[in-house]
């Protein structure tokens, strides 16, 4: 790869992809659409989801062709998440593509990949990675759900929660503990209720991203990969997802900044546009600085994701997630502040970005947690 590509200079094709996507989301994920979907329990529009997967081929964008995808790279996927973040798209895309598809690609199980990825790639399958439990931890020691093999069948028992789109998913990929260590399991939920599995939608502060609680009581499941030793694949999946979430956060932050800038140009106080006051102008300049640095952090993460080095991926992912989480929160709060009273209302989009920022700040680990990991990687 050339330095130009490494540096994130977009190709003509990438610019086109962005344009197509922005036009699509402008029509199908405009603010009224977002508000309509976020008020539902399922949290997405089935028709839009079908179009994303079937027409725009986004669900399988970065899935290799042998599994039914288009085989594009992470640079393109990063672009997609950035645009979705801008538009606050309500859809089970992040959980399906950034978590479930990633873990299947990394689990080292060719047969499972062949069976399960094509459905994801085509957009038919909504998939969810069920990792976190009530303690809300993203590390290996947080996994207490047990998998037991009885008469050649694996059965899962335990509670997963904060699972993105867990209540609407057709396929659950469950991280559980076996006698040999951590393993990954698949539970097909596409054909109606599964005996022993209770799924409960969880209302969230950020209504644009849905979560569910999953109670497993001896639920039959298919082992994906080896029993034991699956944690490294899960860890890298989380790192990949962290980079892609950072891209989404970047999109959200840049859109929140645009809203604030546009408002500062037209809103007048004391006979002048408020954006002509240094207090507002300099705050917006700091917000742009934040956004551009976040873009660098995302670019760095996408580069590491495209490369093969695991330590480099874990490092760049924690940098991107820690940095972009803080930027998104700061920029969204700044957007509320610049809007004044109107930014504090339910009807204004600023609060939607702020809540998305707070929700995604916690998702996959807080900035402080990621910096603590970096401290470990740096030997501090």
């Amino acid at each position: 790869m050339t330095e130009t590509a490494l540096a994130g200079v977009l190709t003509e094709e990438q610019l086109q992809l962005r344009e197509v996507l922005r036009a699509f989301l402008g029509k199908r994920s405009a603010e009224p659409d977002v508000r309509r979907q976020m008020a539902t329990v399922a949290g997405y529009d089935a028709e839009v989801w079908r179009q994303l997967g079937g027409e725009l081929l986004l669900s399988g964008l970065a899935i290799p062709e042998e599994y039914g995808g288009s085989g594009f790279g992470y640079a393109e996927l990063g672009l997609v998440f950035e645009e979705m973040g801008r538009a606050l798209l309500c859809a089970p895309y992040f959980g399906t593509v950034a978590l479930a598809a990633e873990v299947l690609l990394r689990a080292g199980d060719e047969s499972a990949a062949k069976d399960l990825l094509p459905g994801i790639a085509s957009g038919e399958t909504i998939a969810a990675l069920a990792l976190t439990e009530p303690a809300g931890r993203w590390d290996e020691s947080g996994v207490t759900t047990r998998a037991e093999r009885v008469a050649d069948r694996w059965r899962l028992t335990g509670t997963k929660t904060y699972v993105l789109d867990g209540h609407t998913a057709d396929l659950l990929l469950v991280v559980a503990r076996t006698g040999a260590g951590i393993a990954l399991f698949a539970v097909d939920t596409a054909n109606g209720p599964v005996a022993g599995l209770r799924r409960t939608a969880l209302p969230t502060l950020d209504q644009t991203r849905k979560q569910a609680r999953l109670d497993f009581d001896a639920v039959p499941a298919r082992l994906v990969g080896e029993a034991g030793g699956a944690w490294p694949a899960v860890e890298r999946t989380l790192a990949a997802a962290a980079v892609l979430l950072a891209a989404e956060q970047l999109g959200g932050a840049s859109r929140a900044l645009e809203l604030a800038v546009d408002y500062a140009k037209i809103r007048e106080q004391y006979g002048r546009a408020i954006g002509s006051f240094q207090a507002v102008k300099h705050r917006l300049a700091d917000m742009l600085t934040d956004v551009e640095c976040a873009r660098s952090a995302v670019q760095d993460g996408l580069r590491a994701l495209a490369g093969g080095d695991a330590t480099e991926l874990l490092t760049a992912a924690s940098v991107a997630k820690a940095f972009c989480s803080e930027v998104f929160t700061r920029v969204a709060a700044g957007a509320v502040q610049v809007h004044g009273g109107i930014g504090f209302t339910w009807e204004h989009p600023a609060q939607l970005y702020f809540k998305r920022a707070k929700g995604s700040e916690v998702l996959l680990g807080t900035p402080a947690e990621h910096r603590a990991r970096l401290a470990g990687l740096l030997g501090l």
Binding site: Y162, G271, F277, A279, G340, T345, A368, A372
Partner: protein
């Protein structure tokens, strides 16, 4: 925060404490800590509680007896507010009349106006709403456009106000309007008292970001009020309005201090319980938050001490709101961080817990009552004597 206000008010303090303990029971006790300046939670219960307070003569403590008050000293009022906050009683629903309009009328109203309007406030019979801001004039009140014209013995009002807290529950509005259509900026404004329940007044509720029906837009289309319902002089409304904004802040932050102390104690306790799950750097930031609350306490006590000593409050009184609002937001961010993924869940119908609601509403604390930007300008110009920005 345990304060010793001295022997002179010991009996009064005991009386207040006893009354609060005896009456803060049942449904009222169940709503401890509910409400805030921008929080309309449990409005009906809080209104009932205000009536309970009225029945016990605890409203308008420093107001003259002839208007239904008790004619007590500032110190006694401070003592009561402190004990009130300490008891955790619900946030008063009637603050607009009691803390904003009432003092303005006491200072600038005619004796007839005071007799007419003050007692019903203290009896919680008439609620008030403030009509200052307009869509085109948030912080910049001098650019108001809502206008009124004298037509015989009535003012006829046309225009729009916004951010009127709980306007839909108000019986009366005190409204700053332009009565001289030729005037510019601060001149030609007048403060009118307008009955809300009339054909010319339409109220459209605005939901806040926490999902509450907290404030409202008010549309005046040929609304009417009696010619004599002017506070201060016609054309001098700017001065009247500024009078209400000039109330010293330091002392009013004392009760808020107690809620900050409760919040930060909860934060420390939550972090302690979570143990190693909270990264060391987050714990350090919690210590910073805890420090900031401790510092605010002394800042408020310094102002209190000066007021008690009969001195003019020092600069700390002027910076207290700016510091408190930004510190409070930081506390909210930290509390969310410690709560983790569980803290991102809400109840049915977007029901928020007290931590979530407090945090979301804290975003307004750097906006209303003089945004942080305006606070900094005031601090720079009034406390540091820096030159004003030249007008273009």
């Amino acid at each position: 925060m345990e304060l010793d206000f001295g022997p002179a008010v010991a009996d009064f303090r005991e009386e207040a404490r006893t009354w609060l303990a005896e009456h803060l029971v049942g449904e009222f006790a169940a709503h401890r800590g509910i409400g805030g300046p921008a929080d309309s939670e449990a409005w009906e219960v809080r209104l009932a509680w205000d009536r309970e307070l009225a029945a016990g003569s605890w409203l308008g403590l420093s107001w003259p007896v002839e208007y239904g008050g008790r004619g007590l000293t500032l110190l006694e009022e401070i003592v009561f507010n402190y004990e009130y906050a300490r008891s955790g009683a619900p946030y008063r629903a009637t603050t607009s009349g009691l803390d904003l309009f009432g003092p303005m009328l006491l200072a600038l109203g005619t004796p007839e106006q005071k007799r007419r309007f003050l007692p019903p406030i203290l009896r919680v019979e008439e609620l008030w709403g403030q009509g200052f801001s307009e869509p085109g004039a948030g912080s910049d009140l001098a650019s108001l456009r809502c206008r009124a014209e004298l037509n015989g013995d009535e003012w006829v009002i046309d225009g729009q106000k916004v951010w009127t807290t709980m306007a839909h529950t108000a019986d009366w509005l005190y409204v700053l309007v332009r009565t001289d259509p030729e005037s510019r900026r601060h001149r030609g404004l007048t403060m009118l008292l307008v009955p809300r329940d009339q054909p010319g007044v339409d109220v459209r509720v605005i939901r806040n970001l926490a999902g509450q029906d907290e404030f409202a837009e008010v549309f005046f289309t040929g609304a009417r009020t009696s010619a004599d319902l002017v506070v201060g002089e016609v054309g001098q409304g700017w001065r009247t309005a500024m009078g209400t904004l000039g109330i010293e802040r330091g002392v009013t932050l004392l009760p808020q201090q107690l809620s900050f102390e409760r919040e930060v104690a909860d934060l420390v306790a939550a972090a302690r319980e979570a143990g190693d799950a909270v990264p060391a750097s987050t714990r350090d930031r919690i210590v910073e938050a805890w420090m900031s609350v401790r510092v605010m306490r002394t800042t408020n006590l310094r102002t209190l001490g000066e007021v008690l000593a009969g001195r003019t409050p020092g600069p700390q009184a002027g910076i207290a709101k700016l510091y408190a609002s930004t510190s409070h937001q930081r506390m909210g961010h930290l509390a969310g961080e410690v709560a983790g993924p569980a803290g991102q869940l809400v109840g049915e119908n977007y029901a928020l817990d007290v931590r979530q609601r407090t945090f979301l509403l804290s975003l307004a604390e750097t906006i209303y009552g003089g945004s942080s930007e305006i606070q900094r300008t005031i601090i720079g110009e009034q406390l540091l004597g820096l030159p004003k920005e030249p007008r273009p």
